[in-house]
């Protein structure tokens, strides 16, 4: 006859903790370097050991992102919009988990953290709707002075490296990933160093939201350590430096990015609660102009 274990008493069950890993190419590896680092909450109490991404992890993530680019950018805008909306749906189901992680990471009250999660989910919805409107808003038909049909359409730039904000661990992260992927780019994001837990959970949302593996890759660790390898990587087409707080470091990353003429978004004061506008969206777009003669 089974006996009741002590831990089955109400309120005494031992929690199953999560291993916080990287998210690369649709899988959750630990860092190939075997390194992890201690993540504390806002009050300095131990929360978890997060994987500390290395140069090799960053390169693996770029390979995964490049591999995913053709398929993702080739999908219809309607389909990408649906996938982004699906991310919002799945996040909604994990609302409590995100709220708790944001509260712990950012030192917010649970009600304030819930508002942050609300805003993050709503941001995915906002961007989801842009997928099939972008071309109409930023594209054009060009009335050239001759018998030609001439039009310009936006296309994704390619692989975008994102050094995510250090402060806003979920809303900021969402606000820098969503505008890149909605148009068909694929992303390698380095999360907030001190507040990586919502980023890891966001990776789990990606894995269960019909986002193809490799479209979003999330590395936890130091943007200062991994950033230079992404900035100098010749198969990265654009880079968002918003998580770099030191101006000299930002300058060096921008200079390294010049090697293959990456599109660079410089760090700037950001209020993630404000309406984002189009500038991040259009930052990772190329414009293609097509000409064809008109005639019999």
């Amino acid at each position: 006859m089974p006996t009741k274990a002590a831990s089955d008493k109400p309120g005494t069950r031992l929690e199953v903790r999560k291993t916080y890993k990287l998210y690369i190419g649709g899988a959750f590896p630990r860092s190939e370097s075997g390194r992890s680092y201690v993540v504390n909450n806002a009050k300095g109490k131990f929360l978890a050991n997060a994987s500390q991404a290395s140069r090799k992890d960053a390169r693996d993530a770029v390979v995964a992102a490049r591999k995913a680019f053709g398929g993702w950018s080739g999908r219809t805008a309607y389909n990408r919009g649906q996938v982004l909306y699906r991310i919002a749906e799945v996040m909604e189901g994990r609302h409590e988990q995100f709220s708790s992680e944001v509260a712990l990471s950012e030192g917010l009250s649970i009600s304030k953290a819930r508002a942050v999660v609300d805003a993050s989910i709503d941001r995915w919805v906002w961007y989801a709707g842009w997928a099939d409107k972008l071309a109409q808003v930023v594209g054009s038909s060009n009335p050239v002075a001759g018998p030609y049909f001439d039009f310009s359409l936006p296309e994704a730039t390619g692989v975008v490296a994102v050094l995510a904000p250090q402060d806003s661990s979920l809303l900021g992260l969402t606000s820098v990933i969503a505008p890149a992927i909605v148009s068909g780019n694929t992303v390698v994001a380095v999360s907030s160093y001190e507040r990586p837990l919502p980023a890891v959970t966001l990776g789990e949302v990606m894995a269960t939201s019909d986002v193809p593996g490799g479209v979003v890759n999330i590395l936890t660790g130091s943007a200062s350590e991994v950033g230079p390898w992404l900035a100098s990587h010749l198969d990265v087409n654009a880079i968002d430096l918003c998580g770099i707080e030191d101006p000299d470091e930002a300058r060096d990353l921008e200079a390294a990015s010049a090697e293959n003429l990456k599109r660079v978004r410089r760090p700037a004061e950001e209020d993630w609660t404000e309406s984002p506008g189009l500038s991040r969206l259009t930052q990772y777009l190329e414009l293609k102009t097509v000409w064809h003669p008109i005639g019999l």
Binding site: V137, V138, S140, N142, P143, V144, A145, G146, Y148, D150, S152, T157, G158, N237, P247, D248, A250, R251, D252, E254, A255, S257, A258, E259, N260, L261, R263, S279, E286, L287, K288, T289, V290, W291, H292, P293
Partner: protein, 478 residues
């Protein structure tokens, strides 16, 4: 093949009045340079010295930036869009009025055939000013918000291949958006920019709104690195573009770069053959191949390779190389001795690496810088002539079997400026246009330009667009 001989039909150069020396155009006046050494601009078709040009040193550039800043703050910035528009319309009209003179001057200084400067470059220059003039009082409709603002002072550096057209691409949108400019023309082709300075005077454009500083790379570097320049715009080589992108790192400067290319011009077996041959010729021999978007890599479907090559060679045999001022000339002079040396070097490398070189028989003038229209066959993707921008009348021919292979080869380059597609099948045109990673795709045509049509590259061909609403956006803070 018997050759139909043309009588010479030279355009008169009496229409231009070239001064023996030129100062810098700063704050509405021609002024002596204070700290640079003068240099000479020569006619590449005769090596004749056309004029002595001032080199702007750091102190001169600084004066020009100060003049532009003052004009931005006191005059051009506060001016109504309506009045800025009227100045630009005036400039457009003055260019039209002086178009023949400008065309001759351009052909003399650059070496391009008068047929091109007269029928392509200068009409497009006027069209650009006319197009952007109309934007000046409509900026709130440009798609960058309700109250768009100019960056301020723009430092612009342009190349020698389309001297005045590149000036128009840079200055017209900048002024329409409310910026003031300092423009540095290329050291081998400063004359039309200096003529443009006179046009600004004739238009009564307020002093300091447009400043022209002549000089070589060092002057350009001083300009783009000047701390009081808010916006940098450059057209030229990827190498220099990279250096500029590095030099502005960490600053607040906005940058647009229009850099090199190695365009694939892709011919399918069902292509309309006569138009295709003309398109190939126009793609690579227009402007002596001194075109960043030149169709310098010809990709021909294997099944029509022999026919395309035979016809192409026959057509190349009818190209007339010679005096740029002769109205019958198809291919003019190479712009400079340095560029000629580079074309020769890369062509030699093409031979050394095993490609087969062919040019039609053609007599080249004894004086000046000349290179015959040249085609290389048996070129592989690894050959340097298939990878590097030659910027001359040199075509590399590769083959493919399937559309997917054509796409793979076309995109196998760090550049992404332009591409061409020749086929009669509409769905294939659109599929190919989707697949090609290039900023401009010409289908069943090539090398078409228009002020309403955005132009610019993917990847290492640079960023930002010129032309159309998008070209205006590059000069508005956002």
């Amino acid at each position: 093949m018997s050759r139909f001989e043309y009588a010479p039909a030279p355009e008169s150069r009496a229409i231009v009045d070239i001064k023996s020396s030129y100062g810098l155009f700063v704050n509405g006046q021609f002024v002596e340079a204070t700290d640079g050494k003068p240099f000479k601009t020569v006619s590449p078709s005769s090596e004749e010295v056309l004029a002595e040009i001032s080199e702007a040193g750091p102190a001169d550039v600084d004066k020009a930036v100060k003049a532009a800043r003052k004009a931005f703050e006191k005059v051009w910035g506060p001016m109504s869009g309506r009045d800025r528009a009227k100045y630009l319309f005036r400039i457009a009209r003055l260019i039209q009025e002086r178009s023949r003179e400008l065309a001759v001057l351009e052909s003399l200084d650059n070496g391009k055939p008068i047929r091109e400067s007269r029928d392509v470059d200068i009409p497009l220059v006027a069209a650009h000013f006319f197009y952007y003039a109309g934007w000046a009082d409509k900026l709130e409709y440009a798609g960058v918000g309700e109250d768009p603002q100019p960056w301020g002072v723009a430092g612009q550096v342009i190349p020698w291949n389309f001297p005045m057209l590149m000036l128009a691409w840079k200055i017209a949108p900048a002024l329409a958006a409310g910026n003031t400019v300092i423009l540095k023309p290329a050291e081998t082709t400063p004359l039309t920019a200096l003529a443009f300075a006179e046009i600004c005077q004739q238009a009564d454009l307020p002093p300091g709104v447009v400043n022209i500083v002549t000089g070589a790379g060092r002057t350009g570097q001083t300009l783009v690195e000047h701390p009081d320049v808010d916006k940098v715009a450059f057209t030229g080589s990827t190498e220099v573009g990279r250096a500029i992108a590095k030099s502005v790192a960490g600053s607040d400067k906005a940058v647009t770069l229009e850099l090199g290319g190695k365009a694939a011009n892709i011919v399918f077996e069902d292509a309309p053959i006569d138009q295709t041959i003309e398109g190939i010729v126009n793609g690579i021999f227009f402007n002596q191949g001194h075109v960043c978007c030149a169709g310098s890599r010809l990709l021909v479907q294997e099944s029509v390779y022999d026919e395309v090559l035979a016809r192409l060679k026959r057509r190349m045999g009818t190209l007339r190389v010679g005096d740029p001022l002769d109205k019958n000339t198809d291919i003019g002079a190479i712009n400079s001795a340095a560029q000629l040396a580079r074309i020769r070097e890369l062509s030699q490398i093409g031979e050394d690496e095993g490609a087969e070189r062919w040019s039609p028989e053609c007599e080249l003038p004894a004086e000046g810088y000349w290179f015959p229209p040249t085609v290389f066959t048996g070129v592989s993707q690894a050959h340097r002539i298939a990878r590097e921008e030659i910027f001359g009348p040199v075509l590399s021919v590769l083959t493919f079997r399937t559309p997917a292979e054509a796409v793979e080869k076309a995109n196998n380059t760090p550049f992404g400026l332009s591409a061409g597609i020749w086929t009669d099948k509409g769905s294939r045109i659109l599929w190919m246009a989707n697949q090609l990673r290039a900023g401009v795709v010409w289908a069943n045509t090539f090398n078409r330009f228009d002020p309403t049509s955005p132009f610019g590259g993917y990847k290492e061909s640079g960023y930002g667009r010129e032309g159309g609403r998008h070209g205006l956006e590059a000069y508005l803070a956002h």
